[in-house]
């Protein structure tokens, strides 16, 4: 084959340098098919060539970790032989092009990652970012993404128990759709994605192979420009029904000794699944493409190898036991075909029409890419922004006005518009429903449960990506503490712009360093994750958006407090450090959007102790309610507790004198590490004692009761007005027809 042109290489997301590297390593020029396979596996999406060296800072060392990064999903031990398997993944680019199907297939993909480990998925979560809802195009995209997430999860029967959603102009061109899945498996049924045992057959099961998403992996690795709509790859339409059957069949086989290895067909399709399985098993795979069932006529080997058709799995089966395995798929009315076998040479060999059409060493395919280390630098504007005053023009609003506007901001408001479109209860195990801090899914046959939360903090990240990543981890941990859960492990999705821009590379480096530091200090192993770069439409990068998902254990699910204040007369406490920073806050966004001023300080050691204290208070039953302060600060958290419980409150904050800014920072500052707790008056002493024991600041603010939320001397709003404002945000914006 003649050396490919620059344009051809670009199509494959390969550089000239990478091409020459391949030629050198192979000792010959790769043919077109081989080049396509190399391009896909060396894409950022599959190879992590830019981020890999950074990710090595994240540690998965902890006694509870059974499987760390590198497999389909991470696994932690829950005790008594039960394992929890989870991962988060992005589907940003496909969702930008076709929001319903993009989001749906994102959910489908993460589910496959989890059941590929033999685990039954028990919970889904989604982290979403859009532009602001004043824009009809954003309303459309938001509505359709929610529809897509719901469509897949609802149909397959896995509850979507939580998530987070943020609207900010910075995501107008690039929405973010991250999906997380949590599954359970008993130790003997845990599966691995390996191909081993020379002569063992390789099966492809599930959907037929079509021309879907060819170059999808490379597509996610290059910048989307306006013209992308013209040359976009075929959009994939998900088939959750087929996946449901596939899931049941795979889980039925998980305990069988006939199954050697199982892997889903994700990005780069058969190429990556076979190559990675074989690499892990220290073997090779030979595929006969004539055996691959196709949806369309006339598909070339290139198309078959790079097809990203959904709802397919690759299995390696013990020789002689194919019929037994196929019987299970037959029962589920699923197609299964032997398409190849395990070989001793560590190669991927492809034949078609009786001829070998490609042959690549796995060392080259899987690890032979050239690591990238684009230059990075801290942009000057960051320095200036950090030093600026957070509210340059002050606030034109009274405290009451600002308070109600915050409650009515789609970022703080009630999220039921979203989660009531998701079946969040199927399985009968969701004991804390979405809408509050962390969701809790009980573990059958035991008294305990799993708590899960996903969080991100992109505005702080714009000012200081290191801090932003840490704040995201801290927030997820706080959400878990509020349901009395001890965090076990973390998964993360790093959503960034184009790393070839120096400032984006700097953001990525900083964020990963911050993530590593926070996880170390909070003793959270990182067991899985995903990187999504090139979130840039027309040159505008998204803010650095590391999203973290944390899973924890709740000791006794019968003792969980409900959301919000529980009874009039209960005492209200604020627990944790007293920061009131407005840099990157929601109030700042409402006032005009510029991200300025120092982001919240973070003392990770204090954060850890505060989490311990709150966890103890909640799990021993001393706290009757617990909620953390996040967007909108103390005042919004307080109002949320009131609205959720249907009870007012009277509290005092700060000293006697009114601060110079009229109290905005005191009420709406987003200092990290704070919680609002309420306790029975008899438990006030216990509250103070536990906090003192953990050396965590704790202040009594006031009492639950009345029909107003009152901060004495500063502001008060009627409970009904607060409740109405919370419903206004998302539901209000989405009330009209969605075009």
């Amino acid at each position: 084959m003649a050396a490919p042109s620059a344009a051809q290489l670009r199509e494959l997301a390969l550089t000239e340098e990478e091409y020459h590297h391949a030629v050198r390593q192979l000792g010959r020029a790769p043919n077109e098919l081989e080049l396509g396979m190399l391009g896909a596996l060396w894409s950022e999406h599959c190879s992590y060539k830019t981020s890999r060296r950074l990710l090595s800072q994240l540690s998965s060392q902890a006694p509870q970790v059974v499987v760390g990064p590198g497999e389909n999903a991470g696994v932690v031990d829950l005790g008594e032989g039960l394992l929890c398997c989870f991962k988060i993944e992005s589907h940003n680019h496909p969702s930008a092009i076709e929001p319903v199907q993009g989001a749906a297939t994102g959910v489908g993909g993460i589910l496959r990652d989890v059941f590929a480990m033999g685990a039954r998925p028990v919970a889904l979560l989604d982290a979403l970012r859009f532009g602001e809802l004043g824009d009809p195009a954003q309303r459309h995209r938001f509505a359709k993404v929610v529809e897509g997430v719901g469509f897949y999860g609802n149909c397959i029967g896995v509850p979507t128990v939580g998530g987070e959603t943020y609207f900010d102009d910075a995501y107008r061109g690039n929405c973010l759709v991250n999906a997380m899945c949590v599954g359970l498996v008993t130790a003997p049924r845990l599966l691995h994605a390996v191909a081993r045992g020379v002569g063992n057959p390789v099966l492809l099961v599930g959907a037929d192979t079509g021309r879907d998403g060819i170059h999808g992996a490379t597509f996610a690795s290059v910048q989307l420009d306006e013209g992308a709509e013209e040359r976009r790859p075929a959009v994939q339409v998900g088939n959750p029904f087929l996946e449901k059957c596939l899931m049941e069949a795979c889980l039925e086989l998980a305990g069988s000794s006939a199954l050697v290895g199982l892997q889903d067909c994700g990005a780069a399709g058969l190429t990556s699944s076979c190559a990675e399985m074989a690499r892990r098993g220290g073997a090779g795979v030979r595929l006969d493409l004539d055996q691959v069932a196709r949806r369309e006529l006339g598909m070339t080997p290139y198309e078959v190898m790079l097809s990203e058709s959904q709802e397919r799995m690759v299995l390696v089966v013990e020789r002689g036991r194919v019929e037994e395995v196929r019987a299970v798929f037959d029962r589920w009315e699923l197609r299964s075909d032997v398409v190849g076998e395990v070989i001793a040479q560590e190669e991927l060999q492809i034949s078609s029409g009786g001829q070998m059409v490609a042959r690549l060493p796995l060392s080259l395919l899987v690890e032979g890419f050239l690591p990238r280390r684009p230059p990075s630098s801290r942009p000057l504007e960051v320095e200036r922004a950090l030093r600026a005053a957070p509210l340059t023009g002050g606030s034109p609003w009274t405290l009451e006005e600002a308070w109600l506007r915050l409650l009515a901001s789609p970022n703080c408001s009630d999220t039921s518009w979203i989660y009531r479109q998701y079946d969040h209860q199927v399985g009968d195990d969701t004991v804390v429903l979405p809408g509050w801090d962390a969701a809790v899914v009980r573990l059958r046959g035991r008294g305990d449960g799993l708590a899960v939360s996903v969080d991100g903090a992109h505005r702080s990240s714009l000012l200081d990506p290191r801090r932003g990543a840490q704040l995201a981890v801290a927030e997820a941990v706080r959400n878990l503490s509020c349901v009395g859960a001890r965090p076990l492990a973390l998964t993360n999705c790093l959503n960034f712009g184009n790393p070839e821009k120096e400032e984006v590379m700097w953001q990525l480096e900083e964020a990963v360093a911050g993530l590593a530091e926070a996880c170390r200090q909070l003793a959270l192993p990182v067991v899985s994750g995903n990187v999504s770069l090139y979130n840039d439409l027309s040159g505008d990068s998204i803010p650095p958006t590391p999203v973290v998902g944390v899973v924890g254990l709740v000791g006794d699910i019968r003792r969980l407090p409900g959301p919000g204040f529980a009874a009039a007369g209960d005492l209200i406490y604020v627990v944790g450090p007293g920061g009131t920073e407005l840099g990157g806050s929601e109030l700042q966004r409402l006032l005009g959007g510029m991200v300025l001023g120092p982001p919240p300080e973070l003392d990770l050691e204090l954060e850890r102790r505060a989490a311990e204290a709150v966890r103890q208070l909640v799990s021993e039953g001393s706290a009757r309610s617990a909620h953390d302060c996040s967007l909108g600060g103390l005042a919004v958290a307080l109002a949320e507790c009131c609205v959720a419980g249907g009870l007012g409150a009277v509290v005092r904050v700060g000293g006697q004198s009114i601060p110079a800014d009229g109290g905005h920072a005191l009420l709406f500052g987003e200092g990290s590490g704070r919680y609002v707790l309420s306790v029975d008056p008899a438990e006030g002493g216990r509250m103070e004692e536990v906090c003192a024991g953990w050396r965590v600041p704790c202040a009594r603010l006031g009492e639950v009761g009345g029909d107003q939320v009152e901060i004495v001397g500063l502001a008060r709003i009627p409970l009904a007005a607060a409740a109405a404002a919370r419903l206004e945000g998302i539901a209000g914006a989405m009330a009209g027809p969605v075009l």
């Binding site: 719901g150 609802n154 029967g157 449901k244 059957c245 479109q421 998701y422 079946d423 209860q425 004991v431």
Partner: protein, 232 residues
Amino acid sequence: MTWRCGIAVFPGTWSERDCAHWVELAGGEPVMLWHAERELKGADLVVLPGGFAHGDYLRAGAIARFAPLMAAVRDHALAGGPVLGICNGFQILCEAQLLPGALLRNSCLQFRCQSTHLRVEVGRGPLLSGLEPGTVLRMPISHGEGRYYAPPDQLQELEAGGQVALRYCGPAGELGDEHNPNGSLEHIAGVLNREGNVLGMMPHPERACEPLLGSEDGLQLLRAALAVLGPR
């Protein structure tokens, strides 16, 4: 001996395990019935659970009704045996013409998963006669196609014949559009066949079977039904 509850499993069914748990809590013995078989395995009561049988792709329940198992369910129903269809099961029973009417896309055009109140309209047949008419139950719904429809003359017949079993209502049993989550005609949440032995309902009683899940009213419904069936 306890009552044996057969739980139908179609490809795409997802609440069979939830139903089995619920049946056990109510003191029954669950047994799974695979769609491709023709056996009810001695089931006294047949439950068609929720899910998306065959993906609900053509119309919810349209393909499932032809399953071999459904022939056995039909015989059981025609012989007066109790059959309960929940959510997708209700849709299948309508498609199979074991129940009148049809279930259409929710009028809000969105999937809805939320808690609802239901008013028991008639205490008739083996499944409902253990409950007082007027009783208000609380249990969740979870569907995209739950808007009950029957042609005008048939609707009249249903009302007159005591076939309207459950209606969406407020906490005190009051009717109103604000309590109707899907635009069902006359707020109908569940219907009986003429004989009263086949009940279809969109809400999920099996999700309301423990205080931990927020309500036990679904358990109450099944316990009352098993009590009516009497000792086995």
